[in-house]
Amino acid sequence: MTSIITRRRFNFGAGAAAATLPLIGAGARAQAPLGVGFIYVGPIGDHGWSWTHDQGRLALEKEFGAKIKTSFIENVAEGPDAARALRQLAQAGNQLIFATSFGFMNPTVQVAKQFPKLKFEHATGYQRAENLATYNARFYEGRAVIGAIAGHMSKSGQAGYIASFPIPEVVMGINAFTLAARKVNPNFKTKVIWASTWYDPAKEADAAKALIDQGADVITQHTDSPAALQAAEQRGVFAFGQASDMKAFAPKAHLTAIVDDWSGYYIKRVKEVMDGSWKTGDVWGGIKDGMVRIAPFNDAVTPAARAAAEELQKGIVAGTLHPFTGELKDQKGVLRLKAGETASDEMLSKMDWFVDGVQA
């Protein structure tokens, strides 16, 4: 009897000793690559929103090489399933996790609470925590530039806008586009179709066709696939690419595109995690910070449109021109900005009203 207990104790002791071995090894593995995880709302092959985030991820791999190890999960549905995906990345040993869509907000807040030692970044959201930062790009600056071009290039004075959901992000884009177009053509109209999805090529194409049938000769979108551009190309009207240069899908129709560039921001944040200076916060970079770029112009863009676009870009970068400058009344006549006043970040992030000329 005594010998069995002794053997059991021996086994227990040996097991405990063996269990400490990995910890000894961990000290030597302090130089292990930093795990960086991403969840995307769509497929990386959408050549739009999710693709550009993945390009940012690839830029990280190029910049840091063996010092980081990135992973991603694509096609994560916004909602409770996102929590599962985030937890999966958190448990896989990632230290920094990027949630790249507005609809991931609540799951990200939830999971960030469960993993206080890990760092989370949520794109286009507004909820932050000690270990949860938010970031966004000032796409409305890009929208203003393409709005100026649309104002010059549209013969019918009507644009078709394929929008996803009426969240402030989308609303401010529609408004910025329309305001800029109206500076060129005071009667410019933007007709909006709400697709209720970020990505559904067949629906986006049909929506584009319907808008063209109803008189639009410039198409723009806040959905993620190039299908609307293909429809525009087929019908012989102009269109703008979304999130990336979509010229390959519509060589004649594609005038330019708003290009998202997340690589600079991602590299900066990973560096901060590596040297321990990462802090929560809210970053909202625009054309000036290189997060929003305008794709090269199609030859069809007229000199007047080109000049207007470039002047607007220069003004935005210099800080002398803001796409939302008073005096500004919304569609219902409510005064939103006094003369000379520019919209604050807070007003933009809560925008739920449309300007004159928008049929939404």
């Binding site: 092959g45 959408d46 179709i193 066709k209 049938d213 293909q230």
Partner: protein
């Protein structure tokens, strides 16, 4: 509302209705033989991804269409073996095939996302196919004309031919057909293969003509609409043609109404009408024998085993 715009709306309507018509026509034959195939959506997606993959790899849309048909048949054969030879439950197997089709197409298509091909073009020369008014008749691609020809062919087959009569017999009373000596399972295999072929072709219409690209779940549930359409048409090809174009019209007009800024009627009501109409037809059917012509094939969904 110039004639030009009306013709454009009509062209969009035809394009939206064609995949529905093809998939529903295939399913009509399948159901006439007594098999209930709920896997139409999965077969459409198989056809869509196979068609795009072939067209992208070879540069030929024609080969893409053939590959789509082959993929649809292949997927349908999985269903056929499970339900006909192994007498698995048809409803459950059909649903499983749908889920399989969604996943398999996503996997195979992963390498093709973000690519594009030359769209399937019109059959007639530019003088006719691009004429502002005549293009309503001559401006369509080959799949549209094929779908219309198939409606006629299927209708004649079912009502005026001996094989069609045998098919209907198998669907109405498989035991009697077997007693007479007809190969019930072989006939059903053929019907399921035909249904798969047309579903694959209908799916490929999305990736080769409507939006020449591949994306996850490109067909966005049109397979389910095709199933409802077969019931709505009360298993008659003529009514199927009408129903397909009606459903397509409703889908097209919903977006047109949104674009035109129609506010007195929420466009979503238009989107509901195909389903409401299907429910109405189902209700009429279950109300009794008086509306006998609307009966489903009597053996629909019942497994057959020679005994």
């Amino acid at each position: 509302m110039t004639p030009d715009i009306l013709v454009s709306i009509f062209m969009t309507l035809v394009a939206a209705s064609t995949p529905l018509l093809l998939a529903a026509l295939g399913e009509l034959i399948v159901e006439k033989s007594g098999v209930l195939n709920l896997g139409v959506e999965g077969m459409m997606l198989s056809g869509a991804v196979a068609g795009f993959a072939m067209a992208f790899s070879t540069g030929s849309v024609g080969l893409g269409l053939l590959a789509a048909i082959a993929a649809g048949v292949a997927t349908a054969m999985i269903f056929a073996v499970l339900t006909l030879s192994l007498t698995a439950n048809q409803v459950a197997t059909g649903l499983a095939l749908t889920i399989f089709g969604i996943g398999a197409s996503s996997l195979i298509g992963a390498g093709f996302v973000g690519r594009t091909i030359q769209r399937l073009g019109p059959v007639f020369p530019a003088a006719l196919s691009e004429h502002p008014v005549l293009r309503a008749i001559f401006g369509h691609d080959i799949v549209v004309y094929l779908s219309l020809a198939l409606v006629l062919a299927v209708s004649l087959f079912l009502r005026r031919s001996r094989p069609g009569l045998i098919l209907r017999a198998v669907g109405e009373n498989a035991a009697s057909a077997h007693a007479i000596g007809y190969p019930v399972l072989a006939i059903r295999y053929g019907a399921v293969a035909f249904g798969g072929a047309l579903a694959g072709l209908g799916g490929a219409y999305f990736s080769l003509a409507l939006t020449p690209m591949w994306a996850d779940r490109l067909t966005a549930g049109r397979g389910w609409i095709a199933l409802a359409l077969v019931v709505f048409a009360a298993w008659r090809p003529g009514r199927l043609l009408l129903g397909a174009y009606l459903f397509g019209a409703v889908m097209t007009l919903e977006l047109q109404a949104k674009a035109a800024g129609v506010t007195w009627l929420a466009p979503e009501f238009l989107a509901m009408t195909p389903y409401l109409a299907t429910i109405a037809v189902l209700t009429m059917m279950s109300l009794g024998r008086r509306t006998g012509r609307l009966d489903a094939p009597a053996c629909l969904g019942k497994p057959f085993s020679a005994s």
